[in-house]
C-alpha cells in the first residue's frame, strides 16, 4: 500500500445539541494516489467528514493526519497540503477569471510569477483563455464550475478534496472536468471526491467508501465491491447497501 494521504484514527465528532455523536471511533485510510469516492445518502456525514478532513470542523476526539501531519497541531500552514473544491461557487462574481485566480493564488501562498504561469496554464486547459477578462457573473453555470475547479487546483497540492464539483453542468463540461481530474491524479494528486452523480463517480473513482449514519458500510476497490455484492454498477450497489427509503435529513 502507498503511504497514506489521509489517516483518520478513532475520530469522534458530534454537532452541539445532538444527543449522540455523528462519528464515534471512526477510522478511514486513504492511500496516496487514490481516486477515492465517498458516497452515502443525505445526512450520512459526507460533508461533515470532508469538513473535518479540511480542518473546517474540529473533532472532539481522535486524530486526522494529512500526509502524516496531524491537522490540529498546525495553524493554516497545513492547508498547503490540499486543495478544496466546494459545492458552492465560492469565488467573486464581480471579478473575472484571471483576477479570481490571482487572488486565490496569492492566498494559496504562490509567488507572483507562479500565479501568472499557473493562471495562464489553467485558463488554457479549462478552455477559458478567451474569456479570461469577462466578469465571472456573466459566465454560464458550466464555466463557473470550471473557474471553481481552477481555483481549487491552482496551488498544485498533493491532495484534492472535491465536493460535488460537477453539479449543474452540461455533458461537455463534465467530460472535460473528469478528464482533467484523472490527468491530475496521473501526476500524483490524490482525489477525495463526493457526489450524488454515481455514474460519473464510477468513471472517476478506483476506490469507494459507502457511508451511512456516520459509519463506513463498505470500503474497497470499486470492482471488488461490485463483485462481492454481485451488483452491476455503483448505483445498484448503493441502493442495495443503503436501502430505498427516503432520508429526511
Amino acid at each position: 500500500m502507498n503511504p497514506l494521504a489521509v489517516n483518520i484514527d478513532n475520530l469522534t465528532f458530534g454537532y452541539p445539541g445532538n444527543s449522540s455523536p455523528l462519528f464515534s471511533n471512526f477510522n478511514l485510510k486513504i492511500a496516496e494516489g487514490e481516486r477515492f469516492g465517498l458516497f452515502g445518502p443525505n445526512g450520512a456525514g459526507k460533508t461533515t467528514l470532508m469538513n473535518l478532513m479540511t480542518g473546517l470542523l474540529s473533532a472532539s476526539k481522535g486524530s486526522i493526519k494529512l500526509l502524516g501531519n496531524e491537522i490540529k497541531k498546525y495553524d493554516t500552514s497545513i492547508n498547503k497540503l490540499f486543495g478544496y473544491i466546494p459545492n458552492d461557487l465560492a469565488f467573486y462574481q464581480e471579478l473575472n477569471a484571471t483576477e479570481n485566480l490571482e487572488f486565490f493564488g496569492a492566498w494559496s501562498g504562490l509567488k507572483r510569477k507562479e500565479i501568472k504561469t499557473r493562471t495562464n496554464e489553467l485558463l488554457g486547459i479549462l478552455g477559458m483563455a478567451e474569456v479570461r477578462n469577462v466578469p465571472v457573473k456573466k459566465f454560464s453555470d458550466g464555466m463557473k464550475r470550471r473557474v471553481n475547479l481552477a481555483i481549487g487546483v491552482i496551488q498544485n497540492s498533493k491532495i484534492l478534496f472535491l465536493d460535488e464539483p460537477t453539479v449543474g453542468v452540461d455533458v461537455q463540461t463534465r467530460f472535460a472536468i473528469i478528464n482533467y481530474l484523472k490527468e491530475l491524479n496521473k501526476n500524483g494528486t490524490t482525489l477525495i471526491y463526493t457526489s450524488h452523480q454515481l455514474s460519473e463517480a464510477e468513471g472517476l473513482c478506483n476506490k469507494v467508501a459507502l457511508l451511512d449514519e456516520g459509519k463506513i458500510i463498505a470500503h474497497d476497490d470499486l470492482n471488488v465491491l461490485l463483485t462481492r455484492y454481485s451488483q452491476e454498477g455503483l448505483e445498484c450497489l448503493f441502493l442495495n447497501l443503503t436501502g430505498k427509503n427516503y432520508r429526511n435529513l
Partner: protein, 426 residues
Amino acid sequence: MFKLWATIIKDIRILTRDKVWIGFMFGMPILLVLIVTSIQNSTFELINKNKISLLICNRDTGRISAEFIEYVDKIGMFKLEQVPKDQSEKLITSLMHTREALLAMIIPADFSVKINAKSKIVAGKALHTFGLEADTVDVNAANMQPVTLLYKPVLQESFRRSIEGALYSALQLVESKQILKSLYFSINEKSLPLTLENELLNNRVAINEVPVSRDSSMTVPNASQHNVPAWTIFAMFFVVISLGCSIVREKLSGSFTRLKTLPTNYFVALLSKQLTYLLVTTVQAGVIFALGIWVLPFLGLPQLNMPADIAGLVIVTLICGMCAVSYAICIGVFAQTEEQANGFGSVSIVILAAIGGLMVPSFAMPESFTTIIKLSPLHWCLEAFYGLFLEGGKLKDVLTNILPLLIIIVSLQLITFFGLKVKKLI
C-alpha cells in the same frame, strides 16, 4: 505583505465595479450636504436678513401706541403692515392666511390711557418713597387689557419666544419712557427735555458678539461650517451598508469557507477590508470638503473654511473613518443575511446620528440624553470635527474627543473578534 496587497486589490476591484454603490456612497452625502446646507442657510437668512410679516391692528388712537409701533419697527425683525382698527380677531386671522403673515398683534383701545395711568402710579410710588407728595391717581386705572399676539402654529416655539422677547423689550421701552416723563413732570412740573429723554432711553450699553475660537480668529460660523463636517461623518458611517453586506455575502457564498481552507489567516481578509474601506471613507471626506470649498460658493452658499491644523484634520478624519469601518465590520460579522446588515446598519446609523447631535444640536437635547449622547461614536466624531472647523482648535484641543473614539474602536474590534470566535469563523 503580498497576500494583503492582493486582497486589497481584490476588494478595490469589487468596490469600483459596483456603480450603484459608488453613486450611493458619494452621491448621497453630496446631495445631503447641498440640500441641508441650502435649507439651513435660508433659515439663517430668515432670522438675520429676511423680515417676518407682522400685521398690526392698533385699536388705540393715542400717542403711546404709535410710539410702541415705532419701537417694534426699530427692532428690525418685522415687516409691519397695519390693518384697520375695527377689524375683528376672526378677520385678522383670515388676513394672516391671505397675506401669508406669521404674526398679528392687536393693541387694545385703551393702551395709551392705561400706560399713562400706570406710569403715573409708578411715579407716585417712587415719589412717596422719596418722601415727596404725588398727585392722587385711581389705582384701578392701570388695569389694562393685554396686547394680543396671534401666531401661526408653524412657528417653532424657540423662534416664537425670541419674538415675544423682542416685543416685550419694545413694550418696556415705551413704559419706561412714560414713567420717566411722569416722574420728571411731578418733580419739575415741566416736560422731560428731548435730549435728556434720548440720553436716558437710547444710550444703552451695546452688545458685542464675538464667536469663541481657540485660534482667536473672528470667522463667523456659517451653515457650511456646521453641515459639511456633520454630513461627512454621516456618509462615512454609511459604509456599514457596503462593508457589512460584503462580509455577509462572503459568508453566504462560500468564499469565506474556501478562504479558511487556504494557507492564509482570515485576519488578512479583515485587515484588507478595513484598509480598503478606510481609504473609501477618507476619499469621501476629501470629496465633501472639496465640495464645501469650491462648489458651495458657486451655488450662492457660504464657503467651507478649512481648519488651520490640516494635519490634525487628516488624523481626525482617519480616526473617524476607522470608527465607521470597525462598526461596519462588527455588523457584518453578526448579521446572518444581507437584509439584516442593510436594515440594522442603516437604521442604527440614523439613530446614532440623531442622538449624536448631527440632526439636532446636542445642547438642545433633553437632560436625560446626556449619557446616551456619549454612547454614539458619531457624537465624538462631530465634536472633534467641530473643534477643528468651528472653534479653530488644533489636534491637542480635540484629544478629549479622540480618546473616546479610540476606546469605541478597540471595543468594536474586540466584539468583532469574539463574534468571529463564537461563530467559529476563525
